[in-house]
Symmetry: C2
Subunit: 345 residues, 2 copies
């Protein structure tokens, strides 16, 4: 038993099967750890479902499982990532996120002190984002049937009137904008896994983008497409949009922002940064005549300070994403090399 | 590679790490398996978030991870359970479920044919319930870091005007109703695990209860509490309500419906059926004068045909749940024996 005087022993205890059993041990874990750190008026209702009122209108809902390894990494951990990742998916509809839910799958034997660190980090990220975790669930699997902690978060958001953001709205002539440097998250994770040391530590860019999106939507309500280039990086994301909308794209390699450290690490590790995951960046497509205004709005926000126009949507029945390279040539940014890094989010 | 002529090889292939990589393999899996079976106009939008309109009013949101072992069991599988479990959590607010999301965590090496069976079962359950899966997510973990398939579902529902269902509304004098026999789900799972054979196969009661709830709410809009006795069974659920509302309860053992087979199996396995999980039953608390009307409404629905009034809410600062036994005595239905069966849902 991990109970000391009726309180669970956070400092010394470990997750055991009773924490998922529906009995008193689970109730104690929920009270002493999850509710204690994540508390808000809706979560505190204490029912199996969260109750709240919404205005009439268009909502979006998105869900994301998080299985990142290692659980703690430079610039974040699975708790903050689970908040940011799902908030960003909601924001990529142009929406304002309202609520989050969290489902935990814990492995027997995982240290409760580490779980508390994760939940505290989650609570901090949710608070900073202004979006509460309103309901949750905990399951426990036997040692060797999981990997510490998996967290699946779901977000609900409301779409402002007049905003219609969708991949199928990509159209020839539109500008392609990127909110900042690429590859930070993936390289941070891999450096940690491989125990690589660089002159300065490379941090994940994990961040909640809905504040940036709100500024962008206010400046250019007609934004056609928003997408966060997570798994598979900028390459996979743009290829997916191109296929969905039956268009092509041409990128300008020189315009794509990248940190020198990240660039050097990619070279060392044999990674193409276009395929490396980001967790705090977005791609935006808008009419060419709106591009400068959108860029200005992005640069006015801390998370878009290094934003750039990186390319143009083209007419192309083959849906190719191409890139003008530094040497004056053009190469195809293929979609096949999808999996560079497993469990990056 | 699990690709044959550009299609994933469902019959012979296995989940591999590329299916979670964000590249083409993942896109193919989503298209050929998830979207193919779960398709509906919202899911078919193909964005990372699902967009839909809701009427003004009160919504509920609930999330549930599913880690059941074995994945296929008599009366269902993890796919149908993941739909039913979350629909029921939403319905226990008195709400009408509108939408579901699903996050899959797959273990490398899991047979794609089995995954397809699960997704088909999920699609069938969602269709029967009239609630579409509108967005989802897939992650893959290395062999030995998961256990086949975990599914976290989140549900969104709308609460009818005038309905206020919440555990804290439990009050002395209220009647406690149960919608049918207890223990079916837990015993079905354990029989399968232990390879026990009974004269007739014991099936899980896994079912979506929102249709029953709609009838109940229509008959008695003033229902105080609804709760589905899943993990920890009727005992844990009633103890949780008693503690939340600071009341006691007295149950009548003879009134609690149970199948003879389930009763026999519990005796054989040394289980107290009050602690065994159900996945298609609910407990309801309502004013004593409404109890007969509520009972009649429940019995008029196929999933409530064997409903019964099983007890009364009492004033008790110790929040004890007690039971009048067949021998004329009274015993305390404690909350400590929470974990009887791991990974029951």
């Amino acid at each position: 038993m991990n109970a000391v005087d009726g309180k669970i022993a956070l400092r010394s205890g470990n997750v055991d099967m009773t924490h998922g059993g529906g009995g008193r041990a689970m109730a104690d874990l929920i009270r002493d750890l999850f509710r204690r750190h994540l508390h808000n008026p809706i979560l505190d209702q204490g029912n199996d479902a969260a109750l709240f009122s919404v205005p009439e209108g268009r909502l979006v809902m998105s869900t994301d499982g998080h299985v990142i390894s290692p659980i703690f990494f430079p610039g974040g951990d699975i708790g903050s990532l689970a908040v940011h990742g799902t908030l960003n998916d909601v924001a990529m509809s142009g929406a304002r996120p309202l609520y989050l839910t969290a489902g935990f799958i814990l492995e027997e034997g995982y240290p409760l002190a580490d779980l508390e660190r994760i939940v505290m980090s989650m609570a901090r990220a949710a608070k900073e984002a202004g979006v509460p975790v309103v309901t949750g669930d905990t399951k426990v699997v036997e040692k060797g049937k999981g990997d510490g902690v998996f967290i699946t978060t779901t977000g609900l958001g409301v779409v402002p009137e007049g905003v219609h953001v969708s991949a199928e709205r990509a159209a020839p002539g539109q500008a392609i904008l990127l909110s900042g440097t690429i590859g930070d998250h993936g390289v941070a994770i891999l450096s940690k896994r491989e125990n690589l040391e660089f002159e300065t530590e490379i941090l994940s860019d994990s961040a909640a983008l809905h504040g940036l999106v709100a500024e962008m939507v206010a400046a250019v309500p007609g934004i056609a497409v928003l997408r966060d280039p997570t798994r598979g990086g900028v390459a996979a994301t743009l290829n997916e949009i191109a296929r969905t909308a039956n268009v092509g794209m041409i990128l300008d390699e020189a315009a794509i922002p990248m940190k020198p450290d990240v660039s050097a690490a990619c070279e060392l590790l044999g990674l193409d940064p276009l395929y490396v995951a980001n967790e705090g960046k977005l791609l935006a497509l808008c009419a060419a005549e709106d591009a400068d205004r959108l860029l200005e709005a992005m640069r006015g926000h801390p998370l878009g300070a290094e934003a750039a126009i990186i390319g143009t949507v083209t007419e192309d029945p083959a849906n190719l994403v191409q890139m003008k390279t530094g040497f004056g040539g053009t190469r195809v940014v293929d979609w096949l090399a999808g999996e560079q890094l497993p469990r990056i989010c």
